[in-house]
């Protein structure tokens, strides 16, 4: 178990990580999501000991490791660039930590061979031990990098955008592999990513970082269904976020007045998930319990199993509606066609002026 308390790191006075407090449990898959520049990599480097914190502490299994040098922390660190040792073979890369580490090196070569072979087997590279790193593909390099770290049996394995340099196809397969390998070893993974789909799919829990702060730490489905702040909602790339102000009788967004769920009288942001909105012909009055807003059709994008429709909001912004094809066939509209977008008022998330989610009646019920 690792506890971070008030961890802060500034670069030239600008905080990259500020006041991060969280607990990493044993045997869990933790994803760390945030836009670029949110401080994800800095946080990981602080934990690994490659950066010094300005304040705060890191405790690993009760022991304060805040000021320990990297090589005595017993944590694994897998870099985005793989950082394989180019001058030695794959086998020697994986054996490097076992042979050369300060604490408890393995001096018996048969022991090294047994453990390296087992690890290469686990990551599916048994045949490639004698290759040089330059002769490997991107996915294979990624596996060597992972094997090299895991063979040293780290207490926690930190992964810095490990799939960032892979193409989409490879990425998807490696996500499955990563989960399998982690479960086989029972080691905690702390996985940094800028990709919301990856974070949602892989983590047992996820941390959302925004401008150096951990704004939400929760299970992926909770993060997706009820983001704690409007920044998280925007970053998930699954919500239409409308800015405006709560008034008597609803939420004022430009010229339209939208009904608000009960208890959201302080709302300053109004969010509707792409897949919970629908498109209807213009003019009709909304059904009871539903909100409606006029919109002009722009285009649709076919994504295999689903279709995303793009529409112009009255204020000029874009409103997205997502439809899964198992539920409805794609509908075509002429460009600039006047339509109405509607959604259930109960599905609306309201955020206050400071960006925090407002607990509405329905959300309380769901929790």
């Amino acid at each position: 178990m690792m506890e971070l308390t008030g961890l802060t790191r500034r670069f030239d006075g600008v905080p990259a990580v500020s006041d991060v407090t969280l607990t990493v449990r044993d045997d869990e898959y933790l994803t760390l999501l945030g836009p670029s520049g949110a401080g994800k990599s800095t946080l990981l480097r602080l934990i690994a000991g490659l950066e010094r914190p300005d304040s705060g502490s890191i405790r690993l299994n009760g022991e304060d490791i805040t000021h320990r040098p990297t090589h005595t922390r017993g944590l694994g660190f897998v870099q985005q660039s793989y950082a394989l040792f180019p001058h030695i073979s794959v086998f020697d890369n994986v054996a490097f930590g076992l042979r050369n580490r300060l604490v408890d090196p393995v001096t018996d070569e048969t022991g090294v061979k047994r453990r390296v072979d087992a690890m290469l087997e686990l990551v599916g590279l048994s045949d490639l031990g004698q290759r040089m790193p330059g002769q490997l593909s991107g996915g294979q390099k990624q596996r060597v990098s992972l094997a090299r770290t895991l063979v040293t049996e780290p207490k926690i394995c930190l992964l810095d955008e490990p799939l960032g340099a892979l193409d989409a196809n490879l990425r998807e397969r490696m996500t499955v592999e990563l989960r399998r390998i982690r479960e086989a070893l029972g080691v905690t993974f702390m996985h940094v990513t800028g990709n919301e789909a990856e974070a949602l799919a892989m983590g047992d829990r996820m941390i959302v970082l925004d401008r150096g702060r951990a704004v939400m730490i929760d299970a992926p489905d909770t993060v997706y269904a009820r983001p704690a702040t409007v920044a998280v909602a925007k970053f998930l790339n699954a919500y239409n976020v409308l800015d405006g102000k709560a008034e008597i009788g609803g939420f004022r967004h430009g010229d339209v007045l939208l009904p608000l769920p009960e208890g959201a009288a302080r709302a300053a942001h109004y969010a509707v998930r792409y897949d919970l909105a629908s498109i209807e012909p213009a003019g009709g009055a909304p059904a009871p319990g539903r909100a409606a807003m006029p919109a002009a059709f722009i285009a649709r994008e076919f994504l295999g199993s689903r279709v995303v429709y793009f529409l112009h909001r009255p204020d000029g912004g874009v409103f997205e509606v997502e439809r899964h094809l198992s539920r409805s066939d794609p509908v075509d509209h002429p460009k600039d066609a006047a339509l109405t977008v509607t959604w259930a008022v109960d599905d609306v998330l309201a955020f206050d002026a400071s960006g925090r989610l407002i607990e509405t009646r329905r959300l309380k019920g769901a929790a």
Partner: protein, 285 residues
Amino acid sequence: MHHLKVTRGALAVYTALFILFLYGPFVVMGILSFQKGPEGGPQFPILEWSTFWYSHIFGFAPPSRIAPLPIGQALTRSLTLAFATMVVSTILGTLTAQAFRTKFRGSGVVFYLVVLGMMVPGVLLGLGMALVADQLGVARNWWSTAFVLHVVYTFPFAFLVMLAIFNRFDQSVEEAAWALGVPPGRTFRKVTFPMIFPGVLSAMLFAFTLSYDEFPRTLFTGGPNVTMPLAIYGTFAVEIHPNLFAFGVLTTLFSFALLTVYGVLMGASVRRARLRAQGVQEDIA
């Protein structure tokens, strides 16, 4: 089209001249070294082709009025001095460049202090060192005062070479080693050093050749036992015989041999590097 032709012609002439000036002296020297001896002098025409002057250098020629070149011991001294300078300068240069990888306070000043060693005119530095040594009552010798100046002179070259190498060095590899539990010292030995080795070779080559034919600094600080360049210069003062040319040919061949060794070592490490760079993204099996 016409322009291209003119440019090409001009470049061809330029290249020809360049090669002429580069190799001309060596060719003339090479030809004259086969002059007939001991009567033949350092001028054309060649009276008769012979290898007299080569055997003269090694002391196999029949005795004549021309004294053998006093190079035996001088050569040993020069090689020893160049080797020691190479070792010390390369180590210092590598360590200093390593220090410059992280910005430290006053790094700008230190940089210029280091580089000063190659900027200050050698004659001044040599004279200054001689004066200091005399003031302190230190005897001037090729292995003491001259050696120090050789290091001062060649160390900046080694440093600059290593600085360029470290500029292109990816630090994440070292971080990966630390994260595996390997302490920094061992990381340097096992990871950093093998990766910068081609640069170290270049730095060694620079230091060796610069020290080997160093003249002005050694002139003032070398003391009574001269190094090779001084010994050769000393023979000019009396009379020039083709034995100098024969010796020149031999040392040039020696330099080529050194360069060949360097080239072979460099080639081997470049081949390894190319092997590494061959990574092609392909589907994982």
